[in-house]
């Protein structure tokens, strides 16, 4: 009987203390996960806070304390940033009456705002990267073992020879525009790679190549690529550095310059391969007006319709990236292309599974969306 009474009293005390805590409120301090350290997340919930009262939060570090926030909100969150890594921080929340007296005090901590070794919220990105990397390298190894991977015809790339041949017969130059972005843009790199192939052909056919560029680093890179192509074609004498020349970084200044070159020199073949923005239609229409054969390629979805409407051939999105494999036909490049296609298939399957799961099991769908939203 005594034991039963004692148990009832204990449970009641726990219940009332919990209720007291709930009515007193909660105040927590936690190290921010998956960051570079130096941040603590504070959260409070004070249902009993009166209108006349204010809450103040103090940071306690190395024996000293300083106020970091003052609020009248019943509940809220705050991120305390730029703290010392490995320092131990405590926090004190004080509810202050109008007359300045402290009605309540809640402590939280100590917390050490450390840096994580690995950002778990990005684990899914790492998993996807590993799978894509494996697929590409697997098919590269397969191609090196002698397995052949057929590639469908890409009309734009099939017509490169035709375009260069036409320009050579007409005795007119070939204009190559590698886009308006810098060398750190992968589309520009893809464009430069195709420039190498085009330069090999112009070297072989003894056609004039003109490459106006918008960025100095692209100029340097393009020069190396074209020089190497001319060297390999056995025509180092035909190469001169001013084939590749800088115009301006300014978008529409560059467009004006290229349009001027088109209008004056009237190239027979124009290649526009790289990143383009609003200037794409201006370039394509000007090229169309002089009667040149135009081959364009970009992965900018907003510019593709203009190229398709105004150019003879267009490389759409990843066809631009596939061009190097297509033109060189080297086995390991084709293997990489195959791996890229299999990665696309993998993503499509994941998309379909994710869509079905979201439709049939909304909580699962919400979780998936949450995982991808928090990658950050």
């Amino acid at each position: 009987m005594k034991r039963l009474l004692f148990t009832v009293i204990l449970i009641s005390a726990a219940f009332f203390s919990l209720s007291a805590q709930e009515s007193e409120g909660t105040f927590t301090a936690e190290d921010v996960k998956y960051d570079s350290g130096g941040s603590v997340d504070l959260a409070w919930n004070l249902p009993g806070l009166e209108e006349s009262q204010t809450l103040e939060i103090y940071r306690v570090f190395n024996g000293g304390e300083g106020k970091i926030i003052q609020s009248k909100d019943l509940s809220g969150r705050f991120s305390d940033r730029n703290l010392k890594l490995k320092g131990s921080y405590s926090y004190v929340l004080r509810v202050v009456n109008e007359d300045g007296t402290v009605a309540k005090e809640i402590s939280a901590g100590p917390v050490i705002p450390g840096a994580s070794l690995f950002s778990m919220k990005r684990a899914i990105v790492l998993a996807a990267l590993i799978i894509i990397f494996y697929l590409i390298t697997h098919y590269i190894r397969a191609s090196r073992r002698g397995i052949e991977f057929p590639i469908r015809k890409i009309p734009a790339l099939e017509s490169v020879d035709e375009a260069i041949g036409r320009a050579t017969e007409m005795g007119k130059p070939i204009l190559f525009v590698p886009g308006i972005m810098d060398i750190d843009d992968v589309q520009t790199v893809a464009g430069i790679i195709i420039l190498g192939e085009v330069a090999s052909k112009t070297a072989a056919y003894d056609a004039t190549l003109n490459v106006p560029v918008s960025r100095s680093m692209v100029m340097s890179t393009a020069r190396e690529t074209v020089k190497e192509s001319y060297l390999k074609a056995g025509r180092p004498d035909a190469f001169h550095e001013n084939m590749i020349h800088y115009l301006t970084d300014d978008q529409f200044g560059y467009v004006s310059g290229v349009d001027g070159i088109m209008a004056r020199e009237k190239p027979a073949a124009i290649f526009m391969l790289g990143t383009f923005y609003a200037e794409s239609l201006i370039l394509a229409e000007t090229g169309n007006s002089i009667g040149a054969i135009q081959i364009a390629g970009t992965a900018m979805p907003s510019q593709l319709p203009f190229f398709i409407a105004a150019c003879d051939y267009t490389l759409i999105g990843e066809e631009l990236y596939a061009a190097s494999a297509y033109l060189s036909r080297q086995p390991h490049m084709l293997g990489a292309l195959k791996g890229q296609d299999m990665a696309k298939l993998f993503i499509m399957i994941i998309l379909i599974i994710g869509t079905i799961l979201t439709l049939l099991f909304p909580p699962v769908g919400a979780w998936i969306i949450n995982v991808f939203s928090n990658i950050g």
Partner: protein, 210 residues
């Protein structure tokens, strides 16, 4: 090797939030910006020498434009070096009364070129071309008050689906978005694959290799 090494650091920095790694990544990004800034001098000198060469020995019809380039370049630089720098009255004048109107004018050429490209390209030569034509028609009508004037009677009625701005919004938010997403995903995958090829050294032609 250098490309692969730097690429690995950038990838590791994305997954490892430790400040020791972020510092290296930030430094590399700063180095890139510094190198790019210095290469602008290279571009400037190249432009000047090529223009000078063409102005003296180029084709007769090109010489005038090259002189315009040289005079504009040197004139703007001189204005920027005057007292007040880029806030000097001369530089402000060039910016407000030459640069801004010229830039806006070139961009405005798009309006004319869209018209000529539409006239030439939007022909019902095949089923797909006809669908493109009808869609373009609807979107163009829906994006201007004309669409509202013509189909405003349908708004709020049981025939609300015939209201052109509504159809336009649906085309943009559903059909267009689906196509944009597909192209974006394919391009993103191509980007990753190209990046992997560059990191592994398979793709070297941008460096002048095979």
């Amino acid at each position: 090797m250098i490309t692969a090494f730097v690429a690995v650091i950038m990838i590791v920095a994305y997954f490892v939030p430790k400040p020791e790694v972020s510092v290296i990544r930030d430094d590399l990004q700063q180095w890139f910006l510094i190198v790019v800034t210095f290469t602008m001098v290279l571009g400037l000198l190249n432009l000047l020498f090529v223009s000078l060469h063409k102005a003296r020995k180029g084709r007769k019809e090109d010489r005038f434009y090259n002189w315009v380039t040289i005079v504009s370049l040197l004139g703007t630089m001189a204005a920027g070096f005057l007292k007040g720098g880029i806030n000097s009255p001369a530089f402000d004048f060039i910016f407000n009364y030459i640069y801004i109107p010229l830039s806006a004018t070139i961009f405005s050429l798009l309006a004319f070129y869209v018209a000529s490209a539409s006239f030439r390209a939007f022909r019902a030569k095949s089923v797909m071309a006809t669908i493109l034509l009808i869609t373009a028609f609807i979107v163009m009508m829906g994006r201007v008050p004309l669409g509202d004037w013509v189909t405003g009677w349908a708004q709020g009625t049981s025939l609300d689906f015939l209201y052109l701005p509504n159809i336009t919004n649906w085309i943009m938010e559903v059909m267009n978005m689906a196509g944009q997403r597909a192209v974006l995903m394919g391009a993103a995958l191509g980007l990753i694959a190209t990046g992997i090829k560059i990191i592994l050294g398979i793709e070297r032609s941008y460096l002048g290799g095979e």
